[in-house]
């Protein structure tokens, strides 16, 4: 590979507190050689003029579902990586709720090989916390970690058994693995498909109170004070949960928190008359909750924004709301939808990018999300101002269940580089 130089680009890299117009020089090995105003480069370097555009580290998405194995008709490694790169995402944490579940070493080998062959993106697979995600017995954390598992998550399931959860934390603390919990009390959330409240009452749907989320977070953080391990709450959705997080952080408990871009950009009223693509878990809640989540990011109570990319085929969404599948795709629109929060003056740009790059990388303990000299040149280049309209059929995912069909957004990815190579451009 020839040396590359990206010139005249606005570089925003929260890991170096950098926001300036300058050059990015990429060496022959696909690493960042130099970055910033001054650049030294050989004459033979390939020059790419990016005037008017912004370069940030490639996004790190901590929660996406790839259909392989078992659900290839919803998404596969190839389509997921295409969608990711079109959205400026260069590192993806993949969820283990495949068929079969990724809960043993041989499955890990399979997906790592498969991902390497089919995907053009950095993949960081998760394994389940418990076998078959049944919440009964923990998986082989040590062995799985040794084979390349980045963290453990039962995805949309929650460890209900408090004794088991305490043992998981206790065991995990010793071998330094990341435990990612989806916080939902099963009994309180039984049969629910929407936030509890007026909207649920009007639509005649079974709602779930945010207490179902809060109660698990409270329990886990109590356990965590006893068994400090690397603990991450996948997605929170309410003001109440945020208050618990605030209290515990000020008591010195160490953990991290994520939020789905959907919960930051939409609320329960967007469900309208049974729009099943907006059936999500955790559910969309009130506008007050949404605004509090934005505050949470401002105050560093929430560290990560995820796409919560869940591809679902049309058949599983074309059903009455209560029966329809849960989740929406979002990896390709993650950045653009996040930028909406900048354009509507909810959040500063630097903060948004931080939650999409260096913060998740730090939680995962991976060498990504930064454009420091010497790091891999995984770069997302976007036009901050460009207006566009989300059209499901134009998205690259195999499934088209986007929650933001026809939404007018501002800011679009122009080019994505992976280890110095241009892997996407439009």
């Amino acid at each position: 590979m020839k040396e590359k130089i990206l010139t005249n680009v606005r570089i925003i890299d929260p890991s170096q507190k950098m926001d300036e117009i300058g050059d990015v020089v990429i060496d022959e090995k696909g690493k960042i050689k130099s970055i910033g105003k001054k650049s030294d480069t050989s004459e033979s370097a390939e020059k790419i003029d990016l005037k008017g555009l912004v370069a940030i580290p490639g996004l790190v998405d901590m929660k996406a579902f790839v259909g392989e194995p078992g659900f290839e008709y919803k998404e596969n490694f190839r389509t997921l990586s295409q969608a990711a790169l079109a959205g400026g995402v260069t590192s993806i944490v993949t969820m283990p709720n495949t068929k079969p579940v990724i809960d043993n070493v041989s499955m890990v080998d399979f997906i790592i090989r498969r991902g390497r062959d089919k995907a053009k993106v950095n993949l960081f697979p998760c394994a389940s916390i418990t076998r078959q995600m049944e919440g009964n017995q923990m998986t082989e954390f040590g062995l799985l970690k040794a084979r390349g598992i980045i963290g453990f998550s039962d995805v949309n399931k929650t460890i209900q058994n408090s004794e088991l959860m305490s043992r998981i934390m206790n065991y995990a603390s010793d071998i330094d693995v990341l435990i990612m919990q989806h916080a939902e009390d099963y009994e309180l959330a039984k049969n629910s498909c929407i936030n509890q409240g007026e909207v649920a009452t009007r639509l005649g749907l079974q709602g779930v109170s945010d207490i179902a989320e809060k109660i698990i977070i409270e329990r886990d953080l109590s356990l965590l004070s006893e068994f400090p391990c690397r603990y991450h709450i996948n997605q929170i959705s309410s003001k109440n949960s945020l208050n618990v997080i605030k209290k515990n952080k000020s008591n010195g408990i160490k953990f991290s928190t994520g939020v789905s871009i959907n919960n930051l950009s939409l609320n329960q009223n967007d469900i309208g008359e049974f729009r099943t693509f907006l059936k999500l878990s955790p559910p969309l809640r009130s506008e007050e909750d949404r605004l509090s989540l934005i505050e949470g990011i401002k105050n560093d109570l929430i560290n990560v924004i995820v796409s919560d990319h869940i591809p679902e085929d049309e058949e599983s969404k074309r059903l009455p709301f209560a029966q329809a599948a849960t989740g929406s795709i979002g990896i390709e629109t993650l950045l653009s939808l996040s930028l909406e929060l900048y354009h509507n003056e909810s959040l500063p740009l630097e903060k948004i990018i931080k939650c999409l790059t260096i913060n998740p990388a730090k939680i995962l303990k991976i060498d990504k999300g930064s454009l420091k000299e010497g790091s891999d040149a995984d770069i997302c280049i976007f036009d901050l101002e460009k207006p566009w309209v989300v059209k499901a059929e134009e998205l690259k995912s195999k499934s088209k269940n986007t929650a933001i069909e026809n939404r007018k957004l501002q800011g679009k990815v122009k080019m994505t580089l992976l280890q110095g190579e241009v892997v996407y451009s439009n």
Partner: protein, 314 residues
């Protein structure tokens, strides 16, 4: 320069009756006026009209029903439609057929009206997006039961002359009741004041935003009411531990002659049926023809459904 004439297809979008929420006051009143004209017809000896002759009506019932189903069945037949009733309870779903598949199959047979009852809220809305005939909601989940509310309104009008200015109490399992929701919307729309009375565990969140006052005490809730609507308490609510026991429920929320005294002197009693005697209502009270409008509700149900079928199947 010659410009190409733009051809736009005129899409024939049928009208649907999906819920009271989607209805305007005028539309509701139109249905009620139309229904009035059928009351006499139904009481006469020759009951058959040919308004819907040549039309096909399919009653698609995914949930068991006696009253609503037979009422729609009769209503269609009296208007001259060809009526087919399908009880989907255990056939299609067991074979794994989805609602949409069923809808497409039926749609291919060119019906003019589909009357649907489904256990999931929003199922009629989904159906209406996929077929090109009129869809009438005969009850979906806990969301709406528009024809029940309309027949309740007609029954009240028949007795009291008007709904405007009346005070109406709806009492019982509000949380799971589509009848309650549709009635709240309709009675509000027609100018009544609505109280809902239920134990806390059967009261949905945000109900006050629907324009009602909520009570947990029968005495307070019934105070000054002209109409008392009782709702059926389903047995499975006991297992879900919404309530301690039937006995306790009857003690505090069952309608007895003593409790009815909290309402106005000439207050009338309604119930969408089927009744659980001794659970939500005293058995003597239920049969008291001076107070109970239950039979009239059933009678006028046919008239209301005839009106809906006629007005929506044009």
């Amino acid at each position: 320069m010659a410009t190409k004439k733009k051809v736009t297809a005129v899409k024939n979008t049928p009208k649907h009756l999906l819920g009271i929420q989607n209805l305007s006051v005028l539309e509701a009143k139109e249905i009620l006026t139309e229904a009035k004209s059928f009351i006499k017809l139904n009481r006469g000896s020759s009951k058959k009209l040919d308004v819907l002759r040549g039309k096909t009506q399919i009653n698609l019932f995914f949930e068991p029903s006696t009253r609503t189903q037979s009422s729609f069945d009769l209503a269609g037949k009296r208007l001259g439609a060809d009526v087919m009733t399908m009880n989907m309870g255990n056939s299609a779903l067991k074979k794994g057929e989805t609602l949409i598949d069923t809808a497409m199959t039926l749609n291919a047979m060119h019906p003019d009206i589909i009357v649907i009852r489904h256990q999931d809220s929003g199922a009629p809305n989904l159906l209406s997006q996929k077929v090109n005939c009129t869809v009438i909601n005969a009850g979906d989940g806990r969301r709406e039961h528009p024809t029940q509310a309309l027949l309740d309104a007609l029954t009240i009008i028949n007795r009291k002359g008007n709904i405007e200015g009346l005070k109406i109490a709806i009492c019982g399992d509000i949380l799971h009741s589509r009848v309650a929701r549709s009635n709240i919307y309709l009675m509000n729309m027609l100018g009544a004041e609505v109280n809902v009375i239920a134990p806390k565990t059967l009261m949905p969140e945000g109900i006050d935003n629907l324009g009602v006052k909520s009570f947990t005490d029968m005495k307070k809730g019934l105070d000054g009411c002209d109409i008392v609507m009782m709702l059926r308490l389903q047995n499975e609510r006991m297992q879900g531990s919404f309530l301690p026991s039937k006995r306790e429920y009857y003690e505090f929320f069952g309608l007895t002659p003593e409790k009815l005294k909290f309402a106005k002197k000439d207050a009338l009693l309604m119930h969408p049926g089927p009744m659980n005697r001794g659970v939500e209502i005293d058995t003597k009270l239920a049969d008291d023809i001076n107070v109970s409008l239950v039979k009239e509700q059933v009678e006028l149900g046919v008239a209301v459904r005839m009106a809906c079928l006629k007005l929506y199947c044009k």
